[in-house]
């Protein structure tokens, strides 16, 4: 019996006695081995040790003293721990979708066939390679209430701008706004994703009478969902670790309105000399991020479309 064309195509391709799948697996392990080496050599040990430290009272200067789960119990009763978690959650809830949407918007613009495209791409990517501290210093002046760029601009329209980072009500929104500055990374990834969308599909949709908007919603966006998933996971992890803005610009104030989780962790470790407590906070953050990542990954089966499926 002659196999059908479909059956032929499903047969594993063999090269030098190995299936394509085996070759891919081998390539995967080759590519990931530097990371595995780095993880085993430099990360795993400190991670395990920090787990132990989270069960101790340690001021960095004297040997750690084992205290069991006391740091975790204390955390539950620490109003600043809850405040830092609240600030970080609000920040992440606002900045993750906002920055992803903005990055996608820019990527779509940069995917157009216009003159000087590489210059635009470079300009829009450039901010994300600037050091976080330098960006924070610049934004201190953007948000300066009296002489700052933003309020001077608002004044042109007769609007009396708020105190931004000087105001408890506006400090966090200001930092959320500032988070858009660093969308260069996800923007480039979105751009790569957009260029992977087959023009044949768009053309076919066009022939079926779909306009640009419907093509975007029904063709581009579904084809882009693996990229969105990747950027979403990275953004969640990144935003929960926000530190520089609080460290450089606000010191967690005014009135703890920008007390980010990692900044409070840093304060506990190096200002209050509670390294055990800080280690416990790090583990709590690890589990929060892990749960959120797992949630996104599990839910992805419902909304992520892979081209090969």
């Amino acid at each position: 019996m002659v196999p059908s064309a479909l059956e032929t195509s499903q047969k594993p391709v063999r090269r030098r006695g190995r299936t394509l799948q085996q070759q891919r697996a081998r390539l995967f392990w080759w590519m990931i081995s530097p990371w595995i080496f780095g993880f085993l050599a430099f990360v795993l040990g400190p991670m395990i040790y920090s787990g132990y430290l989270s069960l101790t009272s340690w001021n960095l200067l004297n040997p750690p003293k084992f205290i069991g789960w006391q740091n975790y119990i204390q955390m539950a009763h620490d109003p600043l721990f809850w405040q830092s978690l609240k600030v970080t959650t609000i920040y992440s809830l606002a900045s993750v979708p906002l920055s992803l949407a903005f990055a996608l918007f820019l990527a779509i613009l940069l995917n157009q066939k216009i003159q000087g495209l590489s210059i635009f791409r470079t300009i829009l990517y450039l901010p994300s390679v600037v050091s976080g501290v330098a960006v924070a210093e610049v934004f201190m002046w953007v948000f300066q209430p009296q002489y700052g760029l933003l309020n001077s601009l608002l004044a042109y329209f007769g609007i009396h701008g708020p105190g931004w980072v000087s105001s408890p009500g506006w400090a966090l929104p200001a930092l959320i706004l500032m988070s858009l500055w660093g969308v260069g990374g996800p923007m480039i990834i979105f751009l790569a994703g957009l260029q992977n969308v087959s023009p044949d599909l768009k053309e076919a949709a066009g022939l079926d009478g779909a306009n640009h908007f419907r093509t975007f919603i029904h063709i581009t966006l579904p084809m882009l969902t693996p990229t969105i998933l990747f950027n979403l996971v990275l953004s969640i992890i990144g935003q929960f670790q926000t530190f520089t803005q609080a460290f450089v610009m606000t010191s967690g104030g005014p009135l703890d309105s920008t007390l980010f989780y990692v900044y409070y962790l840093f304060e506990q470790a190096f200002e209050y000399l509670n390294m055990g407590y800080a280690a416990a906070m790090a583990w709590v953050l690890f589990f929060i991020v892990l749960v959120l990542t797992l949630f996104v990954m599990v839910s992805s089966s419902k909304w992520v479309f892979y081209q090969g499926e």
Partner: protein, 441 residues
């Protein structure tokens, strides 16, 4: 076949490991190393936050090594922002510097944790001029705990009011002088505050905001109040005493009622700009750090007056700002480390340091400094009157007291209608709870 593949996989892993290891070794090989045979026999490390790149410590280390050819000193510098992160991490990993600089607030932390050497015997037996009696006693005392000397003072300063002469003249106000009061300060500051179109374009003063040493602590002492019990274990009955509340109200009402100064959150928005130098404020109670810089600004006429007093007959109060050298108890070369620390008490150091700070020892240097910068004389007059440091009276001021008081100040200023006694009342149990945790109560 399967075994062969496993072997190949293992070999691949090893190859990657070896490659990465080689890379690390190659990177390491790029660092300069000194030959043990040809180099000095003792290696010491000195860590400082002073003057960023160690502008003064660099020649000091060179001079020390010239005097001690068998000792090599590696100088590490760090900006004050990252200094304690670096120092604590190094100490925690057993790689702490042999000699390091400590700021006044952290004096008890390193003593009580037992990581630094008691230097009293060194003061008693050092043959090369290290002598406690040469120091200003109030300056030496900052580094003393329970009668023992743990730090060699590097230098110090106190607080005075720097003022812009041109602004006073323009407002037809007499210049501030010794014997003036806080009431006069506020009156002048109000007259010097200029508001145009609802925006303050010139402030009468720049107050220290949440910087407790220069602000709240200073006012507590001015009003004869104490915010902490003598044993450092409670603020109850002290911070909320009538005198203390009066002091806090006086200080905060300069922001809330008189509006003579940019608020702490407004100051944060200025991102380290010196508002006195840029002529946005007329007066600033502060240390002498900016004087040599102001001297170089063309046409900038400024003066310095002693701190105001509460009444014309009472004495003014001024805070002390200080840093000192500590010797790591776990140094592998303790004697050499002590010798290095003692070098920072030598005439060579005092002579060089005079150009940058106020010398800790009595000697000809003060007269020479004042000759170069006459405005310094006001600062030097007040050494005997400096207020003892409150933070050194408790085990962990930075963790237990500082954050709550900082929040109290911020909240009182951001909510001008809030009741200060109520804010203080709420702060007291919060601080006491943290103090109890520290003292195991």
């Amino acid at each position: 076949m399967k075994r062969n593949r496993s072997v190949r996989w293992a070999a691949s892993g090893v190859a990657v490991g070896v490659a990465a290891g080689s890379l690390l070794l190659a990177m390491g090989a790029g660092f300069p190393t000194r030959s043990a045979a040809s180099g000095p026999t003792i290696d010491l490390t000195l860590l400082t936050f002073d003057t960023g790149p160690g502008i003064l410590e660099k020649p000091a280390v060179a001079e020390f090594m010239k005097l001690h050819p068998n000792i090599h000193v590696s100088l590490q510098t760090s900006s004050s922002t990252y200094y304690y992160t670096k120092l604590l991490t190094e100490l925690a990993t057993g790689n702490g510097p042999d000699v390091f600089l400590v700021g006044d607030t952290d004096v008890p932390t390193f003593v009580n944790s037992g990581v630094i050497e008691n230097l009293t015997p060194l003061f008693n037996h050092h043959t090369d001029g290290l002598n406690a009696s040469k120091y200003y006693s109030n300056v030496l005392n900052v580094g003393k705990l329970k009668g023992q000397i743990y730090y060699i003072p590097k230098d110090w300063s106190d607080e005075a009011v720097e003022y812009n002469v041109s602004m006073f003249q323009k407002a037809h106000l007499p210049l501030p002088k010794a014997g003036w009061t806080w009431a006069q300060f506020v009156k002048d500051a109000k007259a010097l505050t200029i508001v145009k179109n609802g925006r303050t374009v010139q402030y009468g003063a720049q107050l220290p905001g949440t910087w407790l040493r220069a602000g709240l602590e200073q006012f507590e002492a001015t009003f004869g109040a104490k915010m902490l019990s003598p044993n450092g274990k409670t603020v109850s009955g002290y911070l909320n005493s009538p005198k203390s509340i009066k002091a806090i109200e006086y200080y905060l009402n300069m922001y809330r009622v008189d509006h003579i100064s940019p608020t702490p959150t407004q100051m944060a928005g200025y991102a380290n700009v010196d508002l006195f130098e840029t002529k946005k404020v007329a007066m600033e109670p502060t240390g002498p750090w900016g004087l040599s810089k102001y001297q170089k600004v063309p046409g900038f006429k400024f003066g310095v007056a002693p701190m105001p007093s509460l009444t014309p007959t009472s004495k003014p109060v001024t805070s002390i700002f200080w840093s000192g050298w500590a010797v790591n108890k776990h140094s592998a070369h303790l004697q050499a480390a002590e010798e290095l620390a003692a070098f920072f008490a030598s005439p060579w150091w005092e002579n060089e340091d005079k150009a940058y700070a106020m010398d800790a020892q009595k000697g000809p240097w003060i007269a020479e400094s004042v000759k170069q910068l006459p405005e310094l004389s006001v600062y030097f007059k007040e050494e005997r009157d400096v207020t003892p440091l409150i933070p050194t009276q408790t085990l962990n001021w930075t963790k237990d007291v500082n954050p709550t008081l900082t929040n109290l100040i911020e909240e009182a200023i951001l909510k001008p209608k809030s009741s200060i006694p109520a804010l203080v009342k709420a702060a007291v149990p919060q601080i006491d709870e943290l103090l109890a945790q520290t003292y195991g109560g």
